[in-house]
Symmetry: C2
Subunit: 275 residues, 2 copies
Amino acid sequence: MQPKRTLFLVSDHTGITVQTIAKTLLSQFEGVAFDRVQLPFVDTPEKVQAVRERIDTEAVRSEVRPIVLSSLTDSVLRERLKPCRGLVLDVFEAFIGALEQEFAKPASKAVGRAHGLVDKEAGRRRIQALKFALQTDDGVKYDDYPNADIILLGVSRSGKTPACLYLAMQFGLRAANYPLTEEDLEWGELPKALASYRDKLCGLLVDSRQLAKIREERQPGSGYASLAQCQKELRAALDIYRSANIPYLDTSNMSVEEIATRVMRLMQGGYKTSA
Amino acid sequence: MQPKRTLFLVSDHTGITVQTIAKTLLSQFEGVAFDRVQLPFVDTPEKVQAVRERIDTEAVRSEVRPIVLSSLTDSVLRERLKPCRGLVLDVFEAFIGALEQEFAKPASKAVGRAHGLVDKEAGRRRIQALKFALQTDDGVKYDDYPNADIILLGVSRSGKTPACLYLAMQFGLRAANYPLTEEDLEWGELPKALASYRDKLCGLLVDSRQLAKIREERQPGSGYASLAQCQKELRAALDIYRSANIPYLDTSNMSVEEIATRVMRLMQGGYKTSA
């Protein structure tokens, strides 16, 4: 086990980008633990100076060098951060030079373009998609299906709602969900209400033990939560997906990001996303 | 205007990281337009070979070189992608060497650690937080407030719901929202139900014209949507935030990411996030 490292996530805007990169990179080093310090909106020389002092103080205090993952658009600010006593890895520093050369033009240096005001249209689309997901989640609303980009099918508690919300938030897609009822499962064919939306459908499956555990938390000791019931429902759901010839996905052990991305892939990736 | 570039986003897992980096970097080049091709789950030499052929075909077809933003954990796969006819920028290539040296150990090369199975606990926390947000969003549920990390206050349609969902999804924080009612606004002080949760409170404000526009979409021509009514409510809300001495935020023109990040900052950043 290595000594704990302090990880500074420095950004001139929200810091979502450095958070994401940090997750990706640092998860590759098992046995290295981190204390994260998130420092968003560092967008003036004064703020960079304060950050630098904070990093230097930590470097003196700690026996190991702090790691600094940064996303600073302005090269002047980057230059001011660089001499600190941490290992500085900046996403602009790493890539922007190659891109400037490729496009034969300098980067604009305007802060916050990625997640800020500029992408207003995409933002509006995401909020609309989120509203759509919330509205259709309250119950089955057939009226909404013509406006859906995706309709997720699945038995109760198979993870439809988080997936729909993520598809909306990350990709601006209007995702509705259709909970397969007991009658649907007994009938054993695609519910009639869905017949006109075949190309929007994607079925979800999940490991029966995982499903039983989730249901048990909700209704302890119920027949609804029993392993036998979960197995029966999941088998019936699979039969429906197969007989209707619609794509389906086993979401066991998948994160919500992975479910959303795989659903999009299964549906041929034909969407224009706002991401 | 430059000719349109094809942007390949290549990842061995969901591709969320390269999507985020692409947003950040490419928004800095005004006048350069892109066609994005998302290629997630590229995790075998065969899949890399297929991607390489696709990039090369595009390079021959187009008058400009494709841009390839990639996140490939395995250096063998990176080496196979590199000789393609695009400009390849890989997040691992850029940073992993420096980190390996710093930690004096090699990266694990295991795919999907960031958003996959490994961070199961964080994933569970996010799903729980999401459930919490959905549940408290259905109406004011005072019982939930003791379990909240954050309670957002605001007048109707001031953006509380998307902010709560984002705080849950991205940071695993339990965010409840409290819609300020007409009675609250007339009374002019912090609603009594909130008095015990002062350190969890954050008020939202928004530009009155923006609010009127949003309300107008919902209830066209109503008094509720009139500019005068919006101005009155927002003034009263601000009075409450000030008199109660709670932090508040004007969310006009902010993306949901920025609102969530700024709310966390305002509340002293004392949270352990799952991000």
